[in-house]
Symmetry: C2
């Protein structure tokens, strides 16, 4: 279901997290990087240290994932008790270990301390919400909000209310999760394990049988999936396939439960010998082939690449990413002159991993793309918006001179600053400098000549009105800056070389 | 398992396909686009028409997937009998409907006609090879080679031999499938459904239970998967996760078969009412939300995006893609001089529709991409290949001067011709002209200065040996051409404009 572009979002200011393990740490990273303060309760002595580690990985992944301006990070505060943690927060998210009594106790304490209107969610992978809300003071404010690991990367959060949950609480939760880039899915009925994990569990069961029966090793099972339908599953489910001409009904009649393809109806003897075998294969997979065994960072880079691929198609999780970026951009400050009178600074971006070509380099056309984007920053700055472009005109590029002076790498945070070298009635002469964030050393420069073109006739026409005034103001400020050494240079070899041979 | 870069590949010249339906048509497209002739036997009256349709989609997808030079397409020939089809081919691939007697009959006929050493494979999704080879004359030459849909996009092919299969036949088949961009996986034991489909079947069973129990609709199930672990599955299996600190043994002890999360142990009553409900949900999904229901082309575009994302990481299916492209480049014919002594002509390409930006234009960075590709044509022409790049060096771009003189549109067939303006020990000065195919009017020109860089030190070094000789020969021929008017031009406004304001 494409996300409704007008779906409510509510950006929270502060949330309480009960538990900062793998799941709680992932929540912390997602909230903090979205500018939300996190009040953490976790009795483990290394809780903050662990969350900081997850946060560092998430920060790195987000820098690769998006060039939208991330907000100032939220603060992380460790509290000594559930009661202190949940004070005045917009949301309490419990992510304790999967023990029902422990969760019930934490949730009851949170409910008592947080007051009658506080939204309280559990990250449980399996327990039904009716069971978890049993001992709460305000069970109507409780629901399950089940995320997927890595929480800061995967967009799904399954929302499931219990018998006593107020339906409006699901909407409130959905609006919050949407604001931090997630895709909330309401589960329409209570069920153990909700939806996605039930399907995942089915795969695990069958996989263990294949190992048990010596049909395949864990490595072979993993390969079989990721080289085949695992690729498809990233882009669509089994029921979205645009395959043969057959309808779903025929397909199901023909295939479902008809073939002797699974041993799901049985349970293997999980004895020590079998467990040893599985553990051995898992260890072998990790040790024998370290390049292929991704670290957290490699995993994240791969997810970034897939998400960016889906974004280029505006599809599914890629669409969720696009909408989140749109919200980030709307909330971001406008471009500014450096030190009030220097070049115009475009916002910092991180080099996405899909800019890297087969030889491990950023393709040269990406440098031009950075210049085009910086030109866009200039034209927006002088007041050219969608309305102006459709009613009046726009600047088209006539020429570009790019110089490559250093090499960019995936994840590098870079900034493009632009100086207006000259203007006349129709033309605009710009000089872009690409540097690493905070650096002075140019990685590349791009000089461009543009011409102002009429929206209707597509012929050149003079620029007029407010846009002209803003542009002349900017050009006047920039006329005070030193002219870049490389401006108006030409490409040539010494004469001797030109006569080569 | 990362593909062994030295793994054997055998590029077949002609294959016989028995059956040209969804799977057979996909095989046909993959073989034909890889330059392999296809002899098709399919009694259906519209078989060729259907295969042509699949081929058209595949051609479109490959043009988006790769910029490696695809070979001249293989020929498609329809034959009237199995006997005619299998004559003198390198491989027979059977993809008939899943009826064991039909497959046995076809395979037996193929085996009799093809002779004692012909490799014969079946695309069966489920039958064991021992069963299928029962009536064959040369059962030792038979194995299952099970692909995944869309066959021309997904790299996996599961290879499974029967009791009477000669092990060397699996190697022979693997070498052939590798040569057409696939990832062969040998299944170590006969089992119904092999590996990937058993896991897929497990998901289907659990999904149908969720629908049966009204927990979720098909749409919700699809969303739950593709927004959560479906994304992860594209990049790694369940046993490659770099998650918490827990080992696989602990994880399995804690989770496997322990939770009441699945109804896999039962089979629902597949009555009419239930089938109607499933069919209705599937129809609703397709009709209510046509944008979100991908056509074959949309599905392929999404897979292209994911595969290209994985290629940027050199990982899994992305690595398979890279190796295939490498082989395509090695096999590609060299570029040619126009009229024997004119500029070097890169092969004609069609402007892909995804080059068009939100404003309906080809983004300016794409013009630079065309120039980069043309530079690649030049460097390949003078003998710089993968081996040279890893052992010796490569040309890196120092500067580019682009001039926009006309506008390209999606589908325009364009050609880039390149003139060497000058060379010295380290530098190479090129001038590209982009025109419509057969046209003289330049749409854009691109002037570039490149420098020869050492593979190990990444510092500039003189070009030597055969590459130098080829380059000097080319430069000498091109020194006779008139120097382009725009060469060595610079970008500047009249002085009056530079003092604007």
């Amino acid at each position: 279901m494409p996300e409704n572009p007008n779906a409510t979002t509510t950006h929270p200011r502060t949330v309480a997290l009960l538990g900062g393990g793998v799941i709680g740490g992932g929540w912390a990273a997602r909230f903090i990087l979205n500018g939300v303060n996190v009040r953490l309760y976790d009795p483990a002595s290394n809780a903050v240290e662990y969350v900081q580690k997850v946060l560092a990985n998430a920060r790195r992944a987000y820098q690769r994932l998006t060039d939208a301006p991330l907000p100032t990070e939220g603060a992380l505060t460790l509290l000594d008790s559930v009661e202190d943690a949940v004070r005045d927060v917009d949301l309490v998210q419990e992510s304790a270990p999967e023990r029902v009594e422990l969760k019930q106790k934490l949730l009851a304490a949170a409910s008592r301390a947080a007051g009658p209107d506080a939204l309280i969610c559990s990250s449980t992978s399996g327990f039904r919400p009716s069971l978890l809300q049993a001992e709460m003071d305000h069970p109507e404010c409780f629901l399950v909000a089940h995320p997927f690991q890595p929480v800061y990367m995967l967009p799904l959060v399954e929302l499931c209310g219990g018998a006593r949950t107020a339906p409006r609480m699901l909407d409130r939760a959905a609006a919050i999760f949407r604001s931090i880039g997630m895709h909330p899915l309401k589960v329409r009925k209570e069920v153990d394990g909700f939806i996605a994990n039930r399907l995942g569990d089915a795969i695990s069961r069958e996989s263990l049988w294949l190992v048990h029966d010596d049909v395949a090793t864990l490595q072979e099972i993993d390969d079989a999936v990721r080289y085949s339908w695992g690729l498809r599953r990233a882009v669509m489910g089994a029921y979205r396939m645009a395959d043969g001409g057959e309808g779903m009904r025929q397909t199901i009649e023909k295939w479902a439960f008809k073939w002797p393809w699974s041993r799901l109806t049985e349970k293997p003897n999980m004895d020590e010998a079998f467990l040893d075998r599985v553990a051995e294969q898992a260890d072998a997979l990790v040790k024998a082939d370290p390049i292929e065994t991704p670290t957290v960072q490699k995993r994240d880079d791969l997810l970034v690449a897939v998400l960016q691929g889906l974004r280029s198609q505006g599809y599914g999780p890629g669409e969720t990413l696009m909408r989140w970026e749109q919200r980030l951009r709307e909330r971001a400050p406008r471009a500014q002159l450096r030190d009030g009178s220097g070049p115009l600074l475009a916002s910092t971006i991180a080099v996405p991993s899909d800019w890297i070509d087969v030889n491990g380099h950023v393709a040269e056309s990406r440098y031009l793309q950075l210049c085009s984007d910086a030109t866009g920053t200039v034209t927006r700055y002088i007041g050219i918006d969608a309305e102006y472009r459709s009613s009046t005109g726009a600047y088209y590029t006539l020429e570009t001179h790019l110089c490559h002076l250093g090499e960019l790498h995936a994840g590098d945070r870079i900034q493009v600053s632009t100086q207006v070298l000259g203007v006349d009635d129709k033309r605009l002469h710009l000089f872009h400098v690409i540097t690493r964030e905070g650096g002075e050393q140019p990685m590349a420069t791009g000089e461009q000549m543009l011409i102002h073109v009429d929206a209707a006739t597509k012929r050149s026409r003079p620029v007029k009105g407010d846009v002209r005034e803003s542009l002349w103001r900017l050009a006047k400020v920039h006329a005070q800056l030193p002219r870049p050494e490389r401006a108006s240079a030409s490409i040539r070899l010494p004469l001797s070389a030109q006569a080569a041979g």
